[in-house]
């Protein structure tokens, strides 16, 4: 679907120019949305209408634009972007264009070009020789890079409204603990199968509660069935997962009986120490020290994972990236091709991942605390659905719906 915003002004009502513009759009199989209309109050006052035109293909859009340009309806973006050089390493020019996570195009040398790897709160760096535009985080900008400044020549497309009722429409973004979950999870399972059929990736973001609640076996089954393509987590998830694999406890609590064991509080430190001894999780798996759990399944099923550190981490595990900017970069490398992100029981990682995702990625946030789900959408990741649910029961239902 291609779109363009046009404006037409003058005595467009009495001269039937406006109805004619609308007729031309529809005659060419396009549709329109009237964004704003101001009708002159006196006979001599002019009127003005701003329309968003949607066409099934860029070719048809070009035809429509050509037809209606003759009637005086012209695109609002007639000018190219303005480019200014970055003054220093890691510094944008003062007037830089700050991105959203929506599909974005720039007009450069009279042609619209898509911005690659779109992500919110970044700048757009353009290679003047090729016209290639890449969304670039502030830390990655190099001195002298050409950066888009101002908003002239930048076009942001809203997400298309899906024609049929889909799971992401089904609930909207509203978060409530009082929604029927079984139906929602069934539709989510259907959507996950569709994403896999389309050859896209599913990203999981998991918090340590997945282990504490004893849900790790469900995640292992999802990994084995091929529903997990990438995993983002922190030191906590990996540590407790390994703890449970080595000692049968999570934070010293036996997962099979739900009872605290004597001296169990140091199990997680012993788990970290063991992995540090072998140098990495992968090595511990290779030496058959680590024989079960989510991290084991990731290694044996070649599912890439990014573990990011935080200030309260014990250890951390040698696989954890302690430098946040490096960790962001490592996460970004896995974003292309992701069609859906499933975030379960993780506050900080969910928001961090939400910030990196384009709005076109379907996002599901599951947490027992409604505030986490709301927070994610408040911070701009508005494309997803929130499910307020206990982790264990959510994953159990999901496994059942996916029949894995």
């Amino acid at each position: 679907m291609a779109s363009e915003i046009v404006q037409v002004q003058g005595h467009i009502v009495d001269s039937l120019i406006l109805p004619k513009v609308l007729d031309e759009i529809m005659d060419h199989r396009g549709t329109f949305e009237i964004l704003a209309i101001e009708i002159g109050k006196r006979k001599t006052d002019t009127s003005r209408a701003r329309l968003r035109i949607l066409a099934p293909s860029p070719r048809i859009l070009a035809q429509i634009l050509k037809r209606i340009a003759r009637l005086g309806a012209l695109p609002l973006h007639l000018r190219d972007i303005s480019l200014v050089r970055a003054p220093k390493e890691g510094v944008f020019p003062p007037d830089f264009y700050s991105t959203t996570n929506l599909p974005t195009e720039i007009r450069f040398r009279g042609r619209w070009r898509p911005v690659q790897r779109i992500e919110m709160d970044c700048g757009i760096v353009v290679e003047p020789t090729t016209g290639r535009a890449v969304c670039t985080p502030i830390a990655r900008v190099r001195k002298g890079d050409w950066v888009v400044c101002g908003s002239e020549g930048v076009k942001v497309s809203p997400l298309e409204r899906a024609r049929e009722a889909q799971v992401f429409q089904f609930m909207g973004s509203a978060v409530s603990s009082e929604k029927p979950k079984a139906q929602l999870i069934k539709r989510l399972a259907r959507e996950m199968r569709a994403i896999k059929r389309a050859g896209q990736k599913i990203l999981f973001v998991l918090g340590p509660a997945v282990i504490h609640t004893g849900s790790a076996p469900y995640v292992e089954r999802l990994i084995k069935a091929g529903y997990v393509d990438v995993l983002f987590a922190g030191n906590g998830l990996a540590t407790h997962d390994i703890e449970s694999a080595l000692f049968g406890t999570s934070l010293g609590v036996r997962l099979d009986r739900g009872e605290a064991v004597k001296d169990g509080h140091d199990h997680h430190m012993r788990a970290i120490n063991t992995i540090r001894y072998y140098g990495s999780i992968r090595e511990a798996v290779r030496r058959r020290i680590l024989k079960s759990g989510i991290m084991h399944a990731c290694v044996t099923h070649q599912v890439p994972y990014v573990l990011t550190g935080s200030i309260r981490d014990d250890g951390p595990l040698p696989d954890v990236l302690p430098h946040v900017v490096e960790a962001q970069e490592a996460m970004r490398r896995h974003i292309p091709g992701v069609g859906m992100a499933l975030m379960v029981a993780s506050t900080l990682h969910s928001i961090a991942t939400g910030n990196l995702l384009p709005a076109t990625v379907k996002t599901v946030c599951v947490d027992i605390n409604p505030a986490v789900v709301t927070k994610l959408s408040d911070r701009g990741t508005f494309q997803g659905i929130g499910i307020v649910s206990d982790t264990e029961s959510f994953l159990r239902e999901l496994i059942r719906a996916l029949r894995v």
Partner: protein, 275 residues
């Protein structure tokens, strides 16, 4: 602002000293059908005499220029509104040479010269005609639709843009001629259905001319009060229709100008009002 009524109409004309067919920018022009210079001169002079002597119009003359043969079609030079002269910006480069010549004349004649942004083409009175307090502008072949909005700010009146549908009638004044605030001559197939509806809604008494009369440029008439000056060869029926409405038709032979796709109206620009 529409023209206000005054006693003697003032017109701008330009003698056809250098008039010739030296390019083809409309379906009428053909380099194979050159102009007979002497005959053109006689036809223009007959029109000039009719206007100045019989109908007592005041005519100002624009000096001809050897490089711009179509300067004689002064209707396309611009649009006069009070003391403002809205200069044309021609679509074809062949005629853009007329713009500085006309601009110079307008400044010397004491007009405030206004120009639309260069991205808009606008061909003056050829595409802009008053009906009462509304200015009608034709677009597509020569003028641009988008020009009507800045134009409405300049003339401070309602400006309705009409799309032309037949390239033989490339200017509004070739297919539409307002006779008064309520009456006009028109050739309906030269407009699309939207333009037809606008005209039907605006003008109660529309006289539709036949294709034959339209091709004789019956709608390219000069209207001075109740006098309508048009090319010879128009039908008896049209003459009767005009007379029934108390208009007196004055046929003039303008065959040499017809070769360039022009007729009576194209040869004059209104500098003041007519009743």
């Amino acid at each position: 602002m529409p023209r206000s009524a005054s006693a003697a109409p003032i017109l701008l004309m330009c003698p056809p000293t250098y008039y010739a067919i030296s390019y083809e920018i409309n379906p009428w022009m053909s380099l194979k059908r050159p102009v007979h210079v002497q005959r053109a001169r006689l036809q223009w002079e007959a029109l000039y005499r009719l206007l100045t002597q019989r109908l007592r119009a005041k005519v100002q003359l624009l000096a001809p220029h050897p490089e711009v043969p179509d300067l004689t079609f002064t209707a396309n030079a611009g649009l006069v509104c009070g003391r403002t002269f809205i200069a044309s910006h021609f679509r074809y480069p062949e005629r853009q040479g007329e713009e500085p010549i006309v601009g110079r004349w307008a400044r010397l004649a004491g007009y405030r010269v206004a120009r639309l942004e260069p991205r808009f083409h606008f061909e003056g009175e050829g595409d802009a005609l008053w009906v009462g307090s509304t200015l009608l502008v034709g677009f597509r072949f020569r003028s641009d639709a988008a020009a009507h909005e800045p134009l409405s700010r300049l003339v401070r009146a309602e400006v309705l843009a009409l799309e032309l549908a037949d390239k033989r009638f490339y200017h509004l004044d070739t297919c539409f001629s307002p006779l008064s605030a309520h009456t006009a001559l028109w050739y309906p197939p030269a407009f699309d259905r939207y333009g037809q509806r606008v005209l039907q809604r605006l003008i109660p008494d529309l006289i539709a001319v036949s294709e034959r009369d339209a091709l004789r440029f019956a709608c390219n008439a000069i209207v001075l009060g109740r006098h309508v000056i048009l090319q010879t060869g128009c039908s008896e029926r049209l003459r009767r229709q005009l007379q029934q409405r108390r208009f007196s038709p004055h046929p003039v032979e303008l065959s040499e100008f017809h070769k360039a796709g022009g007729s009576a109206k194209c040869l004059v620009l209104h500098l003041s009002s007519h009743a």
